[in-house]
């Protein structure tokens, strides 16, 4: 509703608004590099790739090293365990853009330096809900995989403290 002055007379005018949900289904290609990463997931392994020029590991593996601008073809295994470098505990109930459902709070994203990865690159993933209160920077974590893995991102459920 909005108030409008017309010829000295104040009127309340109802504004029309349109609600609309736009849905466009997408089919995203993984390409060979990410594809290999997901294959690693099927085997419950973390595959990074390593730049031939600067030697840094990249996880997820990427076609190119952004710094050196060369194609990266060598795969290396890292992890499965690692060290928490940063923790973000979320209390904001944001919607999951892939499902539309609101995420349950609190939830935590941890940035993990997986064993064998070079020092500049962490891997981001969720921390087990029950570990949120206890976890600190420097703690060791280990991955928790789905019962049955299919070579998809969701094969990796979360990380938990490696007690």
């Amino acid at each position: 509703m909005t108030v409008v002055q017309r010829k000295g007379v104040t009127e309340t005018e109802e504004l029309i608004s349109l609600r609309c949900v736009n849905t466009i289904y997408q089919r995203f290609a993984t390409g060979p590099v990410m594809g290999r990463w997901f294959s690693g997931f099927r085997e419950r392994r973390f595959l990074a790739n390593r730049c031939p020029r600067c030697g840094r590991t990249q996880i997820p593996p990427r076609e190119i090293c952004a710094q050196c601008r060369v194609r990266v073809e060598e795969f290396v295994e890292v992890g499965p365990k690692g060290e928490i470098c940063e923790i973000d505990v979320y209390y904001y109930a944001s919607p999951d853009p892939l499902t539309g459902k609101v995420r349950e709070t609190p939830y935590a994203t941890i940035y993990i330096l997986l064993d064998g990865a070079t020092a500049q690159e962490t891997f981001a993933h969720r921390l087990r809900r029950e570990d949120i209160d206890e976890a600190r920077k420097g703690d060791r974590v280990r991955p928790v995989w789905a019962e049955e893995t299919q070579g998809r991102f969701k094969d990796l459920l979360y990380f938990e403290l490696d007690r």
Partner: protein, 382 residues
């Protein structure tokens, strides 16, 4: 404008395919980047290399907010300037030209990509180009709006189904000689005329096939072109122009924005009569009717004379779309970049079987928006 021209030093095209399911966008871009590096030896050195990148992509087609952010590594944008052209890719070249002439940088890498196969329908993407209150509820998208324009144009220019069929046959003829083209199978007039209706009067074979692709180019100042190529292609002129938004506010057959863009580009390039001075034309024909229609707008034949233009072998005489054109399949957001890529190869004498002998001046054209609301014209010369 001696000493102040902008050169295209190298071009890399990814082959257009209907469904590049086996490669990510980053993979396409890296292929093109490697090709540019191999051709020119250019680096990303802070003093002598690439420091400015003009990318081209569309967030709706990529289904990715800030579509350049996701491919920043493949664009070579690490700790560099990168600006995303969010219109059709030919405008990247026009903008990059200004970047160089401004003195802000003397080297620009242009990298555009688009995967029409990724969304379930490119028509849903273009449907979102219409305003939510009127255009969308009516159900408009770029296909059916083009159909409206096609009907109006065919009537005005006496262009028949047979004319259109011959445009498509010719497109396939040249696409067959273009290793980068998508639709390369030969077709016959009868086949085109009998192909199922897509959106009256546009038939499936009148329409460009869904395509995925990427194009990269290296542009430099005149002073530095020699470092990267011994066959620079100069940008002699560039202009674009916008028409009204609502279809009812436009005369769909007027070519209003194309005529302006062409006129300004010709002026900048010192071209008095394109029919005499331009040796080849690469235009963005998403649908067959657009070939004669845009040729009218570009001044290669009189308004309304499309049928005669086609009858008198206009496309052959003016060497139109030796690449096969957009009809042979380029994704919407970079079809103009592919046109420029072909034009550059022609002017460098690298077009193989498609070569227009002695080509020295070329025109590349693109359009953005429904039924040519916005057009861009690029003039190249050696």
């Amino acid at each position: 404008m001696a000493g102040k021209r902008v050169a295209i030093c190298a071009v890399a095209q990814h082959r257009n395919v209907s469904d590049l399911w086996y490669k990510r966008i980053q993979g396409m871009l890296l292929d093109c980047l490697e090709e540019i590096q191999a051709q020119t030896g250019v680096t990303f050195d802070e003093d002598t290399g690439i420091n400015t990148i003009v990318s081209c992509s569309d967030d709706v087609f990529d289904a990715r907010t800030i579509s350049d952010a996701g491919v920043g590594d493949a664009l070579g944008a690490q700790y560099k300037c990168e600006e995303k052209m969010a219109q059709e890719g030919l405008n990247s070249l026009g903008y990059a030209m200004s970047v160089i002439l401004s003195g802000h940088d003397d080297l620009v890498l242009v990298l555009g990509h688009c995967k029409e196969s990724q969304p379930e329908s490119r028509n849903i993407c273009t449907h979102l180009g219409f305003d939510p209150f009127y255009g969308r509820p009516v159900g408009l998208d770029y296909l059916n709006v083009s159909a409206l324009q096609a009907r109006a144009y065919m009537e005005r220019a006496q262009v028949t189904e047979e004319h259109l069929a011959r445009v498509v046959v010719r497109s396939r003829h040249w696409a067959g000689k273009n290793p980068y083209a998508n639709a390369r199978e030969m077709v016959e007039v009868g086949q085109v005329m009998a192909s199922p209706r897509l959106c009256d009067p546009i038939r499936t074979l009148h329409a460009y096939p869904v395509s995925d692709g990427a194009v990269a180019m290296l542009l430099s100042s005149e002073a530095r072109a020699g470092e990267f190529t011994d066959r620079p292609v100069w940008i002699a002129g560039f202009a674009n122009c916008m028409d009204s938004y609502f279809l009812g506010d436009r005369d769909l057959t007027s070519n209003f924005s194309l005529k302006n863009a062409a006129r300004w580009a010709y002026e900048e390039a010192g071209i008095k009569d394109p029919t005499e001075e331009i040796h080849l034309v690469e235009l963005m024909d998403a649908y067959a009717y657009q070939q004669p229609m845009w040729m009218e707008g570009l001044g290669f034949c009189r308004d309304g004379a499309g049928a005669r233009f086609l009858d008198e072998d206009g496309p052959d005489r003016f060497h139109v779309n030796r690449s096969g054109g957009m009809l042979a399949g380029n994704p919407l957001m970079i079809a103009g970049l592919y046109r420029a890529a072909e034009a550059v190869m022609q002017l460098r004498g690298e077009a193989g079987e498609r070569q227009v002998p002695g080509a020295r001046k070329a025109l590349a054209h693109s359009t953005t928006g429904p039924a040519g609301q916005f057009h861009s014209v690029l003039i190249l010369e050696t």
